[in-house]
Amino acid sequence: METLLMLIPVALILGLLGLVGFLWSLRSGQFDDMDGAAQRILFDNDDDKAPPPPGHRQEKGSNR
């Protein structure tokens, strides 16, 4: 039964990690353009400077 004391927290922590990851990706705008994301992988212009992180929230906050 002692294994339960370890396995339950491990299961919960792993689940929480997934949840936090999802909320983070939602917050950083990764779910804003699902169609575009599917197409973007096909662009091969590596020479273009990488765009800075979107910072969706930050941009919105600064609009007045």
Partner: protein, 782 residues
């Protein structure tokens, strides 16, 4: 020379006649765009892209920046500026790549990103290095249209609500998975003799995970339930909220007292299922709404005001003042009400009055917002703005008409009105019954009463409508029909009568040359060679009838009258070519006069949409009666009604007459679907039981309509009705399934034999059944 099927190398539209001479391009604009793209080394775009033949071709039309950009630029900390724009013409990933590449190569641009889903562009630049008009110029030159918008205004409560639902869904999903895992152990423990201490531990861990998730996930339902109760009604959210709260409270009580049964898994997975339904519904509606907003924003053009010192500036229509002078270019929609002070042109007022023939306008003619200036620029003196315009009058009429519809109650709502009291009464009777009849103590009696509430908690019932709605509107969206209102499909399924507007709805809104008349092929060739020079719709129709035409030399356009060529040929109105015959015209016409010959007449008719006859036959086949209601002249309406096979028609109706007709029909108990596109239809659209507008219609009628359909054909309309009826059948079936499940489960719950395991199995099974049943709707591709 290229073959007849040749396509323009830039915009992909078919090349016709003499235009093939421009080296594979349909116009100089396309040639310039191709050169621009090649010079930047971006020709990969042409190999990558997939043009949708039904969409508008990406042809640069040279109207430049549509509105003042500077109003929409916002300063960011760190010296950068941001600008949000809607992009028209983005079709696939290659467009996104092209626009982003063009923009990031401009000096001063720090970041440019196109959202393919919403077709919006976010741009960041350093304002001291470049100004926005110059940055965006290459994108215009390539053929996309950009309109700035205010992100704060558009990314409104709906989006925040949708995100809130998604977050709640993620949290409850996490909790449901973990609690279910623990519950399975508890259920297995019941069979294999798990000790009370271990069971207690598992229950405590479940409570720890489930309770915060319930508090977080229940908020949307609780808010809606409280709102309904405050207004003195009940809705589906009331039994949901009460059920979940009581389930959680009872489970906590069991856990504290070391009892054998806790229902945390039921509470959380119920919320999880319901949130999935709510989120999908919100997203489907949000997508349709953002598509409509996109259409609206692209139409909102600025007005060009000329100040007294001759300075020109673009101003949004609502900021124009009475008495100012406004310039309306040829091919532009008039944004205000005014009187012509200078210039002569043809005005198409189809959206306003339903008339298909353009009228001549000269100094002194009044013009109304919403009409289109066709042939030559006009200067107007503004006579009315804002609330005083004809447009605002139509909007007021529409608002009055809309009030009747706000009273419509959705089917689910009607069911909830009696479902909630019945369920709560059953639980109460169970509670009292066990105490009075069986002499049970109040705690176990309460447990049984709560288990009745858990079992009747309308999981399947609450999923029954959203799942069907989501699948139906998704299927319609693929067919180009946008469902704007939540109850639109339900109302659409109820209709028994269809009222069509004529111009632009039943017809394509473009005149076509009629074969009869006294002209021969030679006359047509001469007339078309003159007509090439004009953008008047009748001239266009002539050119369309004679595709291999060569343009005549030195053609002069006399706006509002006609065209004259160098050899003395004249093409235009009967006054322009000095015809004295007195027989009345039965539709739009053009006359061609050649020196030494009798003038010949070309008659035109607005052609019905290609599948109008089929669509009307299909509507009849669905058991609907069809009626035609138009603002156009009776002769024209009668001719069209005859062509498409409608016997019931009315001509010469103004907006008020249309509303009156719909009110009469409603008073007779008919449920009317109104299909219309014009400003003059907007009040009627609002007054009808349900309404559909084509995407090519006036913005106000698209806003008033419940559904918007895209494309040249009427078939989506018929499909929308068929899907709506199918959706109604499935919704009713789902309700029957959910209620049938309750009839089975409630006696078990009342007799007190329901355990958490039975509750979980019954709930999941009924939810799955409802979803699977709804999925049958998506398979309807023919």
């Amino acid at each position: 020379m290229t073959g007849p099927a040749a396509l323009c190398r830039h915009c992909g539209s078919p090349l016709g006649g003499e235009s093939a001479a421009v080296g594979g391009f349909c116009c100089a604009g396309c040639a310039a765009a191709y050169e621009l793209i090649s010079a930047q080394g971006l020709d990969l775009y042409y190999r990558r892209r997939c043009l949708d033949p039904t969409a508008q071709p990406p042809r640069p039309d040279g109207d430049g920046v549509a509105a003042a950009l500077s109003d929409h630029v916002t300063a960011l900390p760190g010296g950068e500026s941001a600008l949000s724009l809607m992009v028209d013409g983005v079709q696939c990933g290659a467009c996104v790549w092209l626009i982003e590449s063009l923009l990031t190569r401009q000096p001063g641009v720090t970041w440019a990103r196109v959202n393919l889903t919403t077709r919006r562009l976010a741009l960041r630049f350093r304002p001291e290095e470049n100004d926005p008009a110059a940055i965006l110029a290459p994108v215009f030159a390539v053929g996309y249209r950009l309109v700035p918008f205010d992100p704060d205004r558009l990314e409104s409560d709906d989006l925040r609500h949708e995100r809130g639902l998604l977050k709640a869904m993620a949290v409850t999903g996490f909790a449901a998975g973990n609690v279910m895992l623990l519950s399975v152990s508890v259920w297995a423990g019941h069979a294999q003799g798990m000790g009370p201490a271990t069971r207690g531990l598992l229950h405590w861990v479940s409570a720890l995970v489930a309770l915060p998730a319930v508090v977080y996930g229940l908020r949307p339902f609780a808010a809606s339930a409280l709102g309904a109760l405050r207004a003195g009604r009940t809705n589906m959210d009331v039994p949901i909220t009460i059920g979940v709260v009581l389930t959680s409270a009872m489970s906590l009580w069991e856990t504290v007292n070391g009892g054998p049964h806790a229902y945390f898994d039921s509470a959380v997975s119920l919320l999880f299922f319901l949130l999935i339904g709510r989120y999908l519904e919100a997203r489907a509606r949000g997508r349709a709404r953002s598509a409509v907003e996109h259409l609206l924003a692209l139409d909102a053009r600025a007005v060009l005001v000329i100040d007294s010192d001759g300075h020109r500036r673009l101003v949004p229509p609502r900021r124009v003042m009475v008495g100012q002078t406004v310039l309306v270019a040829a091919g532009e929609r008039v944004g205000i009400d005014g009187v012509v002070i200078d210039g002569r042109s043809d005005i198409e007022s189809g959206l306003l009055t339903g008339e298909s023939v353009p009228m001549a306008a000269g100094p002194g003619s009044p013009l109304y917002a919403g009409t289109m200036n066709l042939t030559a620029p006009l200067r107007l003196r503004v006579t009315a703005v804002g609330e005083d315009t004809l447009l605002a009058g139509i909007v007021r009429m529409m608002e009055v008409a809309e009030q009747g519809r706000a009273r419509y109650v959705a089917f689910a709502e009607r069911v909830a009105r009696w479902y909630a009291p019945v369920v709560h009464l059953t639980a109460l009777v169970t509670f009292i019954g066990w105490i009075v009849l069986a002499g049970m103590a109040w705690q176990p009696a309460l447990l049984i009463a709560v288990s009745v509430l858990i079992v009747t908690c309308p999981c399947a019932l609450a999923l029954a409508v959203p799942v069907v709605q989501v699948i139906a509107s998704g299927r319609l969206m693929r067919r180009g029909v946008l469902v704007k209102s939540a109850t639109a499909l339900e109302r659409l399924a109820e209709i028994d009568h269809v009222v069509f507007d004529k111009t632009g709805t039943l017809t394509a809104g473009r005149p076509v040359l009629r074969p009869e008349g006294g002209w021969n092929a030679d006359d047509l060739a001469v007339a078309a060679s003159l007509a090439v020079a004009s953008s008047h719709p009748l001239a266009r129709a002539l050119v369309a009838a004679c595709p291999d035409v060569r343009s005549a030399e030195a053609v002069t356009e006399h706006p509002g009258q006609g065209l004259s060529g160098c050899g003395g040929d004249r093409l235009g109105s009967r006054a322009f070519v000095a015809v004295l015959e007195s027989d009345e015209a039965d539709g739009p016409e053009l006359w061609l006069a050649r020196p030494g010959e009798t003038p010949v007449r070309f008659a035109f008719a607005d052609r019905p949409r290609a599948d109008a006859n089929d669509a009307i036959a299909a509507l009849r086949h669905l058991g609907l009666s069809v009626e035609l209601l138009s603002g156009d002249r009776r002769v024209i309406v009668a001719a069209l009604a005859d062509t498409v096979g409608i016997t019931d028609w009315r001509g010469g109706c103004d907006p008020a007459a249309k509303v009156a007709r719909l009110t009469t029909l409603a008073a007779r108990g008919r449920r009317v679907l109104m299909v219309g596109d014009g400003l003059n239809d907007a009040p009627a659209l609002a007054a009808a039981h349900v309404s559909i507008s084509p995407a090519s219609g006036a913005d106000i009628s698209r806003a008033a309509a419940d559904l918007v359909f895209q494309g040249e054909r009427l078939a989506p309309l018929v499909e929308a009705i068929a899907v709506a009826r199918q959706a109604r059948t499935l919704t009713r079936q789902n309700f029957a399934l959910a209620l049938g499940y309750n009839l089975l489960a409630v006696p078990l719950a009342i007799s007190g034999v329901v355990t958490p395991l039975i509750a979980a199995i019954a709930m999941s099974a009924s939810s799955l059944l409802v979803i699977v049943n709804a999925l049958r709707l998506s398979g309807g591709r023919r």
